[in-house]
Symmetry: C2
Subunit: 221 residues, 2 copies
């Protein structure tokens, strides 16, 4: 298993999170990429509710996970870490310039044109569910999501993956679509639902998810 205590590649994750977001935290994206290329990594677990010391904020300024360190670069932001790993392995990011830029474009689209809207549904349903206005705000948020899902489904067409071969773009888009797992929204987008299932069926995804969920059963470091 790539998760290994002596690995030189370090990733931060949470020791535990509230039930609705288990399997959703973004270290999953990095675990998945590392599993795809069979690279060993070590996980540093943080308590989700404990304020971070300045030493951590100098690594991850928002105090969140994942942060990443391979002895050469200390990075944060799942998208940046995936780009960094992608440059090192064509199984994550094609080398041919046109294929590469299509994958990078879709990675950015998932992060900046799709996730903000899908994330808003997660925000309303999980973190603001008790607010009196959350229910009223949801139809507008849903409409914005539907426009992005329709466009993404149309762009995917008959293809297996967003940009030619499987890439970091799919890792992001599929983990973004998973934010809707507590809703029936994706049922209206059968090709996208099949695409998500295709990603979740990859052995690397299954190992990554299992390792993230296992860590939630472990004591914090």
């Amino acid at each position: 298993m790539p998760q290994c205590d002596s690995a030189s590649t370090v990733l931060t994750a949470y020791a535990d999170v509230p039930a609705p977001v288990r399997g959703q935290v973004r270290d999953l994206r990095i675990r998945w990429a590392l599993q795809e290329i069979d690279r060993d990594y070590r996980v540093e677990l943080l308590d989700v509710f404990t304020p971070r010391p300045d030493s951590y904020k100098s690594w991850q300024p928002f105090g969140q996970v994942p942060a990443f360190d391979d002895g050469r670069q200390r990075l944060f932001e799942s998208g940046a870490i995936l780009l960094y790993l992608g440059e090192q392995d064509a199984r994550l990011l094609p080398v041919d310039p046109t294929a590469r830029w299509q994958a990078i474009t879709w990675l950015l689209a998932a992060l900046n044109s799709v996730e903000p809207f899908i994330g808003q549904i997660g925000m309303l349903d999980f973190f603001q569910a008790g607010k009196p206005w959350a229910k009223e705000a949801r139809p507008s948020a849903l409409k914005l999501v539907e426009a992005r899902l329709s466009a993404t489904e149309a762009a995917l067409g008959e293809a297996d993956w967003l940009a030619g071969p499987f890439s970091i773009a799919d890792i992001v888009m599929i983990t973004v679509l998973r934010i809707l797992d507590h809703t029936p929204i994706l049922r209206d987008y059968p090709a996208l639902a099949a695409y998500k299932t295709r990603g979740e069926s990859r052995p690397a995804f299954r190992r990554a998810l299992a390792e993230q969920l296992e860590s939630y059963a472990s004591p914090a470091n």
Copy 2:
């Protein structure tokens, strides 16, 4: 002036937009980058409210702007276009690996950890302002913004720019902060406000903004 009808680099923008979002549309980011490196570009203006033909959606699947074509790559997503331009010119993205990855990390942080929250304020204030729940939803949205602004201000510290020299990370972060221009929010973050002013004072930014605003006075193509 880099905007030039015979240029081989093409960018899409809107022929006009409602007043509150003039000077905010994301083609500004690409114009700014192209102005920083004195590269000529040609603008194709689209009517913001007209449905896009499939030919445009095959270029920009969400039907939005900017889309970009330099004869070698056809791209969309402002973040991806900036990365692409950055790889071609060290004035936009340093070549040294550590400096480069810090800039890429901050570019992604601006797009995925800051813009979604600041964008939600813009959404509530501009596009959902008439909804009965929008006013009630704003304090929660503001609290999320404040956490990101505090973290970004602390990370900036005494530096002029987010990641060493001026880079595409600053182009994104400053255009993201500008989404709050209709609010007094940034007054509580004087170092961030000064950083934004520093970016907006660059001749390349001023030319880019003037060209975007001028295009709103032109007839649509």
